[in-house]
Symmetry: C2
Subunit: 384 residues, 2 copies
């Protein structure tokens, strides 16, 4: 049948890059598209950043495409209006105003897409944008596999007065009681095992003659209890079922340094939710543009379905100007075709078209050019 895809354009430049995605989809096949609001857009429409009906539509679809969410300044986030995220709202939180980002977090956990894949590859045509010296940035081809539905993003949180148990730090000094709050990072062996399997399977798929499958697991096992379990389980899974995969473990601080000094050493990077958020944005500096990065959020490598979104945010500073870079969104469409809909050949064609358009010199302002979103999209569609 015709694949049913839910489109969630969202906020800021989200609708502009989503329009680019639908152009590409129209050019490569027939799809049944249904649009729903998310984020600030959904708060305006329904009073919540992710309505039940939207989540239900996403759960029934063959795949979900997301634009971007967030009403604040780029990189600035929203603050002050903070109810706790998933779980108990903090007693210390002043209001219960809904936050747009909560829509994305609820969508990820609602769909159970625990494995977030973020591929980073040197792109011909824009290598001069890299912040790194040419010798460091050449031939980078890695994927960050980030655990997406657990960890400190989803654990209990709130006011410390609501956190029972011994050993709870209290504010220092003898002064009047002041605010103190907490977040909790929780991981079970099962949560770690399933995302580790995804990473190992992906490494196998990426192996080529002369390049054996390789996974680098990143944690903070010298400090965190969750990281010690992480390292233990990842190693167990490798020993039991993936003896062919070369596995190493790095501390997150070391990994943050090596990603810049020696990005070519990485193939598949496996890590937990918070570390993956930080490290995957850091990889944007390698190729020089956050606007070109795509992501796939899956319930396993061969499961089909899933959530596909660019790594960039809603970029309110350039929203409505028609100059947003659609490459991250279009490459997310390619990931959807590959992992969500099992149309690998069409996915290859879309990726090749993006490379060609960039190599031919069509570039949006963030890439140093003056193409509009429409011109960039047209150049890609024409290369198909």
């Amino acid at each position: 049948g015709v694949p049913r895809i839910v489109l969630l354009p969202g906020d800021g430049i989200g609708p502009e890059v989503m329009a680019a995605a639908t152009e590409v989809l129209a050019a490569v096949g027939t799809f049944d598209l249904a649009e729903h609001p998310i984020g600030a857009d959904a708060i305006r429409a329904y009073g919540v950043p992710l309505a039940d009906r939207t989540l239900a539509a996403c759960a029934e679809a063959d795949a979900v495409l997301l634009g971007a969410v967030g009403a604040g300044a780029v990189g600035a986030g929203a603050v002050g209006a903070g109810a706790g995220a998933a779980g108990s709202a903090g007693a210390g939180a002043p209001h219960d105003a809904p936050r747009p980002e909560q829509g994305v977090l609820d969508l990820r956990s609602g769909l159970g897409v625990y494995a977030n894949l973020r591929p980073v590859r040197t792109m011909p045509g824009i290598t001069h944008l890299s912040a790194l010296r040419t010798d460091r940035a050449a031939d980078v081809d890695l994927v960050v596999v980030r655990e997406l539905t657990g960890g400190i993003y989803y654990g209990p949180r709130g006011d410390v007065r609501d956190m029972p148990g011994e050993g709870v730090p209290r504010p220092a000094g003898d002064g009047p009681a002041r605010r103190a709050v907490f977040d909790t990072c929780v991981y079970s062996a099962d949560e770690i095992e399933r995302v580790a399997r995804t990473a190992f399977e992906l490494a196998r798929e990426r192996a080529r003659p002369g390049r054996p499958p390789r996974v680098t697991s990143v944690d903070k096992a010298n400090v965190l209890t969750t990281s010690r379990l992480w390292r233990e389980v990842v190693q167990e899974v490798a020993d039991r079922d993936f003896g062919d995969v070369v596995l190493d473990h790095l501390l997150v601080d070391t990994a943050a340094m090596l990603l810049v000094t020696d990005p070519g050493r990485f193939d598949v990077i496996l890590t937990e939710n918070m570390f993956g958020d930080i490290l995957s944005d850091e990889t944007a500096a390698i190729i020089g543009s956050l606007g070109c990065l795509a992501s796939a959020s899956l319930t396993g490598l061969g499961a089909g379905g899933g959530l596909f979104e660019p790594v960039h945010g809603s970029a309110p500073d350039i929203a409505g100007k028609g100059v947003a870079n659609p490459v991250g969104m279009i490459l997310s469409v390619a990931l959807m075709l590959r992992f969500g809909l099992r149309m690998a050949e069409v996915a290859n064609a879309v990726e090749a078209a993006v490379q060609n358009a960039l190599a031919a010199g069509t570039r949006t302002p963030d890439l140093g050019g003056d193409a509009t979103t429409t011109q960039m999209t047209n150049a890609i569609v024409k290369s198909l």
Copy 2:
């Protein structure tokens, strides 16, 4: 009187770089030095990574110099032998074998050195080592101010069965109960306020004509409750007492990217413990060498005293070979002279001597040269 300094050489290359530190101290003045073990060295001597008598000696001293701690491979950390860190040991943790790193964590909290300063400056003579393009790496002059005695490093942790309260995630699936563990990130307004003050005061000290004081506070306020309190308190302190300081807030993922694409935009970076660990190691890529970075851990900017250590680890792979880079340790001595002992002029002289020795071409193997630790140290002492 003669300043009393406790020396904690520690593990791996720690004793080798500590020897370099004592050479420099002997060349610039008279100090009362007392050596104690820490880390794996202390576990061998006393069965614990930080003995009570060692902490007491540190607390009584005018300043503490630390080499490095850790018996594992560089960047690999220790695992498996994990009791929980400060607070309850996890029921899920198999043994109670002491970990060397715990000595550093206990020392930091025992001394109450809540503000960790990590300066990063382009160094003449080694600019070619930077992983960044020349235009990006030039004229970098920033300091990471990392909160050091709170956050997820010190919160309650262990098995989730010991974590009371509602909303506790359980392992997915119907299978037999498997391991699940947690770490807690806790921050009080007081803890945030005092380290924010240190950052703002440091920014004022660093201000020069044409460069107003500037602080970038880094958090994850769009997700974490602790980060929302962080942002709120930092902004309150700025509004109340530091109206002259230019303050902006960045999300940690954005900051991780901007540190590479545009490090020159930063002056003082203020952040919490875990984010500071990651971001400060990332800055090593800017100057191209972890071995050249120094740190000061203080109980406030004008408080005197404190703990001074290089940012690098124990580097067991090169330990005992006499080739460790002593620059991070010697620059930590300079920070001790400046912040711990209020000997700013001597501190300036040591920093100038390091610059001169590097510019003259004396370099250890990590910097692309073939100087031994002793030769590098002698070159610096001679430049004094």
